[in-house]
Symmetry: C2
Subunit: 160 residues, 2 copies
């Protein structure tokens, strides 16, 4: 685990569960609480998370400016916090917010509106009875080289 770079008032029992990257940051997904829209991805250090948890407003750490960034302070497009959840391995939070106006600096509602990539969609196999082990379902995935690494290692890392 990487130690946080900056001093923080974050509760120690939360700080102990964070798995920060090399810059002391975790990813923060902002989602509109009622519609489910994924609005943007930002970054938080311990103190940004503390401020998000305690002020009612989403606060990020700006990697480019190396300072705290209270979403909407310039644009007026605040993110009012509804709930915050840490993920199972401690490297991301999901922040449900009430977004005022556009989340994206381009004026789009979300940061994912403008650049939809061409993707070949996949279809799940027909529903199988719950008693049937999922891995026994027919493989309908289009052909791709087999990946390496044992299932045992994968399960041990929590990445199925």
């Amino acid at each position: 685990m990487t130690d946080a770079v900056r001093a923080s008032r974050l509760a120690p029992e939360i700080a102990a569960r964070l798995k920060r990257d090399g810059r002391g940051l975790i990813a923060a997904i902002a989602q509109q609480y009622d519609t489910g829209e994924v609005l943007m991805l930002g970054w938080m250090d311990d103190e940004a998370l503390h401020r998000t948890l305690t002020t009612g407003r989403c606060t990020y750490w700006s990697r480019s400016r190396q300072e705290y960034w209270v979403k909407g302070d310039t644009s007026g497009h605040q993110q009012w916090v509804k709930s915050v959840a840490l993920d199972c391995d401690g490297d991301a939070v999901l922040v449900k917010v009430d977004q005022v106006g556009a989340a994206c600096h381009t004026g789009d509602r979300t940061c994912f509106d403008a650049d939809v990539l061409g993707a070949a969609p996949g279809d799940r196999p027909p529903a199988a009875p719950r008693e049937q082990a999922p891995r026994e379902q027919p493989a309908r995935w289009k052909s791709e080289p087999a990946i390496t690494g044992s299932d045992f290692q994968r399960a041990a890392k929590g990445e199925d």
Copy 2:
């Protein structure tokens, strides 16, 4: 911009838009396409994104095992791709999927189900006429030290 570490078949015009971290990765948010649930956050290098775009199945790069990880190959809990969108600054994709079973290795439906942090919720100010500039709305944010840095710098970086 960091160059990708591994060889990839990703289309060059997409690769040129990615802003990778020091490990050559971008964040990948998986969202259930119909319910809007945010399922998990993973990581993709260029080739993982290529495979996600072309095979119908979500493929991540495992940072711990340093190999490709086709979600559900072990657990049967596949993610069938519906759409993929790159964000405005190229460091994250939103992958809408049809998730079979639990997205989380713990058996939870999502990786954000188990650790909801205590947060003081925020309430947006009363609706103002659209003609009123958002930044002129009354400040109802609870007191917090002012952040440093000019609005000009902030706007120039696309972080309002």
